[in-house]
């Protein structure tokens, strides 16, 4: 307890007075006004004002106390009529005994600590408050912020000390890249702040509840069940699409899209790094570190361009996937260059040092309710907070990057809370890990780091389509446990690694799934009724296998992100505009995939039941989670934005920790490489800080 207090106090010594532009919260009672004046004085007076900072203007109400003031309004009085105890719900970050806390949210009763504000005036988290009400979200964010340690749910509520944030490094975005960067920086001993635009969500409570179809029929009918997946909570209408139906997924929550990712963890190989300023050998230790940290299951296949990792035990494939494997073996025997291997995913099949639960193969992975799947919110962020160096600020949307007068150095960021209050963070270095659309948007909005003109360019993603086959020999099989650990349990890869295709540029892989799906109908459009219809529906569902292409989109001048001149978000900032036009090469690649997959299905003695046939641009769909490349790294400051570590060429204390740094894109899923790169960037940053090159 005392240690914790010391930490808070040491932060007080670093606090900076804030500029006059951040005031403006309503002051509803004289008591609060006096309290704020006293607080501000208590903090401002012992510190000599640094000359380069603006003087404090009084009275000034910190954003963090605004819920207190709200609580004093007559309409909110009933919510805190007799608040004798403070309840803090910290289930998300309870570690070690996850299962128990998930099933029965733990309520910890805490005595109010001595604070300068009366904690009785802080509104309680009440059950009847809607989950999304700003007051509740603010309160949650506040408890999370000021406790600084929700691992053991001991809340020391001293809101006045959280007035101002000064960190060594500020990481913006808590997704896969930001989460790991924050952890690595905190572990290296740097005071780190992690800014997240969304609220903290609890696995199994706020998203990811189990349900058998007959228990959730109404939700299935109304489409609400889709929201059970964390991805159902994603942002809507937050960009303008131009061209061939671009789409973008953005999940604003602590953990970002790691909450809903499928867990596919494939290493990029030596060939993939040829176009990068880094060699595979340099990345290999970071891949190993990341795999050990995350817990990745997989089979050692010995492929040269998809190197084996440090795997937990694999879980195997479904019957239909084995028959595709058989088809591939037959085609290989005839000289085809391809491999068919088991999928590798960041889910626990064995006990793991993180203490997360093991997978129980329910198949509802896009909202894993037991945290068997790695997310930023269940591993690096709590572990970072445990070091005592990491402060998480949730519901804090970065709305401005603060720099010195010449835009040569970043000095901090300004952010807006859910309540609309504007606050700021001062930092010696800034890590952007927002996502491959948001990071370039923020740089463009602030006019930073773009002397090369490459910010927002080189946009690429994965794209694809589906081919479906049916194996009559599986028609009598039971559905067994077809859900497994998510849809795709196998992967067709190794295509065009040795020799590029003359018809198109780039490579593709094909993710495969098979069998029956619990919440979806894998086979549709069977005609008729009665016993024969019933039998056919069953046989096709049990014996189907689906192949989903994932190809790397050609980087070209037709694909980029820029700012929309007309549309603005609720913070008044221009929305991003995503331009996507498929090239002939992309269409040729998809055509090649369709033909290959049909051949494989037939070689496995199956029949093709659904295929796009002749491919055109309107049949292709974009992978809206896999955008990369918009803030590329490279050796030459004229053609790239970042150096080979992810540090800006223009601004020496600006770093990027998300997948937008990729200078070229292989067919493999980006997240594992994003995590490894971000970890490497964070270690480099920590080293620079140690050498004193940051301040």
């Amino acid at each position: 307890m005392s240690k914790h207090k010391n930490r808070e106090l040491s932060r007080e010594n670093h606090t900076n007075p804030r500029g006059p532009e951040t005031g403006g919260d309503p002051i509803t009672s004289p008591l609060a006004r006096w309290a704020s004046v006293l607080l501000a004085l208590a903090i401002a007076l012992p510190n000599a004002l640094p000359k380069d900072r603006q003087p404090i203007t009084l009275p000034y109400i910190p954003a963090i106390i605004s819920p207190v003031l709200d609580a004093q309004k007559p309409e909110n009085k009933k919510n805190c009529a007799k608040p004798k105890r403070l309840r803090v719900n910290s289930t998300t970050y309870a570690f070690g005994n996850l299962r128990k806390t998930r099933l029965k949210p733990k309520k910890t009763r805490l005595k109010p600590t001595k604070t300068r504000l009366n904690p009785a005036k802080i509104p309680r988290l009440r059950r009847h408050q809607p989950r999304s009400s700003p007051q509740r979200r603010e309160t949650l964010a506040m408890t999370m912020t000021v406790t600084g340690n929700h691992m053991n749910s001991r809340a020391t509520l001293i809101p006045c000390l959280a007035l101002m944030y000064t960190f060594d490094v500020c990481v913006v975005g808590s997704g896969p890249g930001g989460g790991i960067a924050a952890y690595a920086l905190a572990k290296a001993g740097l005071k780190t702040g992690l800014l997240e635009a969304g609220p903290p969500l609890r696995a199994g409570i706020d998203y990811g509840r189990h349900g058998m179809p007959w228990e959730v029929q109404e939700q299935l009918l109304t489409g609400q069940w889709a929201r059970n997946s964390a991805f159902g909570l994603r942002e809507q209408n937050h960009f303008t699409g131009v061209g061939d139906r671009p789409d973008h997924g953005w999940l604003k929550a602590v953990g970002g899209r790691s909450l809903c990712w499928a867990g596919h963890s494939l290493r990029f190989g030596p060939k993939d790094y040829r176009e990068w300023p880094i060699a595979y050998e340099e990345m290999a230790p970071y891949y190993s570190k990341a795999e050990r940290f995350m817990g990745v299951y997989g089979n050692k296949d010995g492929l040269w361009n998809m190197p084996d990792g440090e795997f937990l035990k694999p879980i195997g494939m479904r019957c239909g996937e084995w028959l595709l494997w058989r088809g591939v073996q037959r085609m290989k025997a005839q000289g085809a260059k391809m491999e068919f291997v088991q999928q590798r995913k960041a889910m626990l099949t064995e006990d793991h040092p993180s203490g997360r639960a093991r997978c129980h193969y329910c198949g509802q992975c896009s909202g894993c309710c037991v945290d068997a799947k790695y997310t930023s919110a269940n591993t690096p962020i709590p572990m970072g907070i445990r070091t005592g160096n990491l402060t998480l600020l949730s519901d804090a949307m970065m709305t401005r990057i603060l720099t010195d007068a010449g835009k040569r150095r970043v000095t901090g960021v300004e952010f807006t809370r859910a309540s609309g209050a504007v606050d700021r963070v001062n930092c010696r270095a800034l890590v952007l890990a927002c996502n491959s659309i948001e990071t370039p948007r923020q740089l463009l909005l602030n006019g930073l780091a773009n002397s090369s003109g490459q910010v927002g360019r080189n946009l690429t993603s994965h794209f694809g389509l589906n081919v479906q086959g049916y194996f009559p020999e599986l028609r009598n099989r039971g559905a067994l446990d077809d859900e497994c650990a998510g849809a795709y349990q196998s992967l067709l890869t190794g295509l065009y690694w040795d020799k590029p295709s003359p018809k198109f540029q780039g490579t593709y892989q094909v993710q495969c799934t098979a069998g029956w799906a619990l919440m979806d109908l894998p086979v549709r459009g069977i005609k008729g009724f009665g016993k024969s219809f019933k039998r056919e529906l069953r046989e096709k569902s049990a014996g189907q296998a689906r192949m989903n292409m994932q190809g790397s989109l050609l980087i070209s001048s037709k694909k980029f992100v820029d700012l929309d001149a007309t549309r603005k978000d609720r913070f008044g900032l221009a929305l991003p505009r995503i331009q996507l036009f498929y090239e002939d090469s992309d269409i040729a690649m998809a055509q090649d995939m369709v033909e290959k997959c049909e051949d494989i299905i037939r070689a496995g003695k199956g029949e093709v039941i659904a295929s796009p046939g002749k491919v055109t641009a309107d049949k292709l769909f974009i992978d809206y989670n896999h955008w990369v490349g918009t803030v590329r790294m490279g050796k030459d400051p004229k053609t790239s934005v970042l150096d080979r570590f992810g540090r800006s060429h223009d601004i020496p204390n600006l770093f990027v920790g998300d997948a937008s740094v990729f200078p070229a894109y292989p067919e493999k899923n980006p997240t594992l490489s994003n995590i490894a790169l971000s970890w490497r960037m964070a270690e480099h940053l920590a080293e620079l800080a140690k050498k004193g090159e940051l301040s």
Binding site: H210, M212, P213, W214, E215, Q217, E218, L220, L221, T222, I315, G316, M317, R318, C319, E321, W322, L323, W325, R326, R358, C359, H360, Y361, C362, G363, L474, R477, G478, A479, L480, D481, D482, E483, C484, Q489, G515, W516, L518, L521, K527, G528, F529, G530, K531, F533, K534, R535, L537, R538, S541, A542
Partner: protein, 170 residues
């Protein structure tokens, strides 16, 4: 005891458990419900492998689906009327008074132009069939007996893998 009867007993237990439509008034009259129940059971009948749509309680699902969408409710109500009118014309009886064979003939008539329906009855069938399939495959009978699904073990050591057939893996 016949196998079919055994199914019925199992179905009774299975249908009684879910809280489907509890506290909600059915939108279809008992007569309409009987027609929907029979139609769904003709589309997915009981066979020697698994019970049919009647035993799986699909008509309850249809009622729920109609209650969530007034347009669907109206369309199906009109469809039931048209079905009765048509069967009176053909067999001089209402649909529920016909024998099962006659009812199946009626459904055959409805299913003639599946995919490109041209009259009220064909439209009714095209709209009803996907809902019947969903209702059946989302039911406990549909998941456990029809598809023989064995997943979602909370005991993680019970996992045997999705495919443990040696013949598929060679």
């Amino acid at each position: 005891m016949e196998r079919r009867d055994l199914f019925k007993i199992m179905a009774a237990g299975a249908v009684a458990t879910p809280a489907l439509g509890q506290g909600r008034k059915p939108v279809f009259t008992p007569a309409q419900d009987a027609v929907l129940d029979r139609l769904s059971d003709i589309i997915i009948p009981s066979d020697d492998q698994s019970p049919g749509a009647h035993d799986a309680g699909v008509s309850k699902f249809l009622d729920l689906a109609a209650s969530l969408n007034p347009q669907r409710h109206q369309a199906w109500s009109r469809g039931i009327q048209a079905l009765d009118a048509s069967s009176k014309l053909r067999f001089s009886k209402s649909f529920m008074e016909c024998t099962r064979e006659q009812q199946e003939q009626m459904v055959e008539q409805m299913a003639q132009n599946e995919g490109s329906p041209s009259n009220e009855l064909e439209r009714f069938f095209t709209s009803l069939k996907p809902a019947v399939i969903d209702g059946y495959r989302y039911s406990e009978i549909g998941v456990k007996q029809y598809m023989r699904w064995e997943g979602n073990h909370f005991d993680v050591s019970a996992w045997k893998g999705a495919c443990n057939h040696r013949e598929h893996q060679s």
